[in-house]
Amino acid sequence: MIIAERKPIDEIKTFVKGKEKILLVACRGCVTVCNAGGTKEAGILASLLRLDAAKEGVPLKVDELTLERQCDPEYIFELSPSMGEKYDAILSMACSIGPQFIASAYPNEKVYPVLNTCFLGGALAHGVWAERCQACGNCIIHKFGGLCPISRCSKSLLNGPCGGSAGGKCEVSKEIDCVWQLIVEKVTSDGTMDEFLSLELVKDWRTSRDGGPRKIAREELLK
């Protein structure tokens, strides 16, 4: 899923400054699962913003609404009935796709992103998330013991490890496991070292961001 986290409250306060009526739009997708922008987190943020406004003695009405997703126009348009309310700002708590979709659906509204969209990953434990994919557009993890060297090696090496790997840790930080250590351990225990040792040729990065913004259109699904 997409892993995101809430922006610092001071930054969010700059979005709200001078506004009297805002709509906070949560998302029931990835950001609910990673506890960043679901109904609950929207409730907490709305409350904090109201408490802040009360402390400053300024009027602030914060309405909260949760959409099924914010990466699909059919759900974005569920906001239409709320648009009659004339909000001074719409704050999206989805990943950054949400505020972009809202802004394009309602070009007259001021739309702000409340979250920082961080990476594609999964939960290692409740409350801990880690990056596992960089959406390179041509998955090759089967050649690396099921581990992604692009997202998990700090240098995205395809022929690692580099000279900085020590004690299973990456030279970038002791907090980061060297994925190349893990890959070598995995192929060793799998007994597939022989086939693994062939040199990995240069990857075609055109399927990644290097080919420009990407788009998929499937004829059979188009109306």
Partner: protein, 144 residues
């Protein structure tokens, strides 16, 4: 019980105590039957376990005019649901940071641990916490 004179005449603190039914709530009950005095400003909310204590409950309390909120659960290691009180403490710590980020004193929210037999301790917690809130004054939401 009469509070020590506050610097804010006419103001009486509003304090909400989320008490676990297995310990703090029973301790409060015991404090009552022992006729121990503790501030009437402390209003008790019975919860099944401090694991039920939610960040949003405390924030709503502050929005509705509470000056201080505390959660009181079983002694660590004695939670009837294993780790409800540990989780509650983490939530309280999280809330302290969140409140601070919008200019509210983190001391307005606390977590306490006690057992059902500690009636006098409950009264002491209620007195001390109330005294701290009196020292802080009204919630920033009310100062203006």
């Amino acid at each position: 019980m009469t509070m020590e004179a506050s610097a804010f005449p006419g103001w009486e603190p509003k304090i909400l105590a989320f008490c676990c039914q297995y310990c703090a709530y029973s301790a409060a009950d015991m404090a009552g039957s022992m006729r121990l005095e503790y501030p009437t400003e402390v209003e008790i909310v019975l919860i099944p376990c401090t694991g039920r204590f939610d960040v949003i409950l405390a924030l709503r309390a502050f929005e509705k005019g509470a000056d201080g909120v505390f959660a009181a659960g079983c002694l660590e290691g004695n939670c009837h649901f294993l780790d409800g009180n540990i989780r509650a403490r983490k939530r309280v710590n999280f809330l302290k940071a969140e409140l601070k980020s919008v200019g509210y004193e983190p001391e307005r929210i606390e977590m306490f641990n006690l057992s059902a037999s500690q009636g006098p301790r409950f009264a002491e917690i209620a007195r001390d916490f109330t005294q701290n809130i009196v020292g802080l004054g009204p919630s920033p939401a009310k100062k203006l």
